[in-house]
Symmetry: C2
Subunit: 206 residues, 2 copies
C-alpha cells in the first residue's frame, strides 16, 4: 500500500506497532484522527508520551503508582505476611474486585517467555526476592495465568522462594463457578478431578 | 475500574477514543507501551501529533498529500474530464489497485450521516462543485459504500451535480466476481437481477 503522504505513512507504521493492530486498523485510526480537532489529537499524543516518561512504580510491589508507595502497600489494614505475585496491574484490579484477598501484591511486569526473549531478570523478580529476604513475608501466592509461560514462571519462582524458606501456594484451577461440565475443556476438567477436595471443605465457603 | 495512577487512567481514556477500541484494549495498549523504550513511545506520540498538525490535503481532489497538488492530480496522462468521488484515501488506493480507472478523484472525507451530525457542508462538497463549475469535468462517477449513508450522499450529490449539467454515474452493484449464488445476500442478488445487462455486453470485458 503506497501512500501519497510520508506523514500518514509514518503514523500508520507507528500505530501498527500496537498489539493486535494491523496496517488496516492503523489506517482506520489515522483517518479518524485526521477528522478530529488538532487539540484533541494533541491530548492523545501527550497522554501517550507522559505515560511512558512520567509514570512511576511502587517501590515495594512494582505496581504502577503515581506515589512512591502505592495505596495498597501503604494500607495499614492489609496482611503484610501474605504476598500475591501477579503479571500486571490488570490482575491486581481483577483480584481486588473479588474482595477475597487482604494481603499485598507483587507485580512482575510480565512472565518468563524464552520465545520473546524474556528471562527472569527482565521481570521484577530481584525486588521480590529482596522483599522476601526482609523476613516479614510468610506465604507467597502465585497467581499467574494458566499458560505455558505462566507455569514456567511459577515453577521458577517456587524453587527460588522455597530456597528462602517461605511457603509458596498457587491459586486453584478447576471448573468455573456456574459452569456446566459439558462445556469445560478436558485439561481443566482432568485437573479439577485430580485436585478434588473433601465435600465439607468444598462447600464451606458457599 | 479504578486505577492507581491518573497518568495511566488518562492514557487509557485517550486510547479508548480510537475507533473500535474499548477500555480493555486501551489498557493492553498502555501496558505494552510501558514495556517499551521511552524513545520508541515518543516516536509514536510524535507521529500522531505531526499527522494532525502537519498533514496537507491536495488543493484539487482533497486527498491527503504532502504536496500542494497530489501525484494523481498532477499526472498529465490522466483523463481530467472524469472525476471519481470517494469517501477517503483508502478508496483511492483500492481503486488505483484495480488499474481500471484513468480519471481523477475527489475525496469527500466522509459521507452524509445525520446520526453522527455530519451534513454535506462537513464534507469536501463545496470544492467538488467548484471544480465541476470550472467546466473541464464531463462525468462524475460516484463510488461510495453501498450503505444507507453512502446512498444518501450519492442521492444528494447526483441532484446537485445534475443541476450543473454534468453526467453522473455510479459504480455497479451485483454479485462478486468468483462468487457462488447461494452465498450472496438477497438484497445484492435482487439488485443484480434488476440491473442485468445483455449477455454480449456482460462478457465483453472477460
Amino acid at each position: 500500500m503506497a501512500l501519497s503522504s510520508p506523514l500518514l505513512e509514518q503514523a500508520v507504521d507507528q500505530l501498527a506497532t500496537l498489539p493486535g493492530v494491523g496496517r488496516r486498523t492503523a489506517m482506520r485510526f489515522a483517518l479518524e484522527l485526521l477528522r478530529r480537532e488538532p487539540a484533541e489529537v494533541v491530548r492523545l499524543a501527550e497522554a501517550i508520551r507522559r505515560l511512558r516518561e512520567e509514570v512511576r512504580f511502587c517501590q515495594e510491589c512494582c505496581n504502577i503508582s503515581d506515589r512512591a508507595v502505592c495505596e495498597i502497600c501503604s494500607d495499614p489494614n492489609r496482611d503484610r505476611t501474605l504476598v500475591c505475585v501477579v503479571e500486571d496491574i490488570r490482575d491486581v484490579i481483577a483480584i481486588e474486585n473479588t474482595r477475597q484477598f487482604k494481603g499485598l501484591y507483587h507485580v512482575l511486569g510480565g512472565v518468563i517467555s524464552p520465545m520473546d526473549g524474556i528471562g527472569p531478570d527482565d521481570l521484577n523478580t530481584k525486588q521480590l526476592f529482596e522483599r522476601i529476604a526482609q523476613g516479614e513475608v510468610k506465604e507467597v501466592v502465585l497467581a499467574l495465568g494458566a499458560t505455558l509461560e505462566g507455569d514456567t514462571t511459577s515453577f521458577y519462582l517456587n524453587r527460588r522462594i522455597k530456597e528462602q524458606g517461605v511457603d509458596v501456594s498457587m491459586i486453584a484451577r478447576g471448573i468455573s463457578v456456574g459452569g456446566e461440565l459439558e462445556n469445560v475443556d478436558e485439561l481443566t476438567l482432568g485437573r479439577s478431578i485430580m485436585d478434588r477436595k473433601p465435600y465439607e471443605q468444598s462447600v464451606k465457603r458457599g
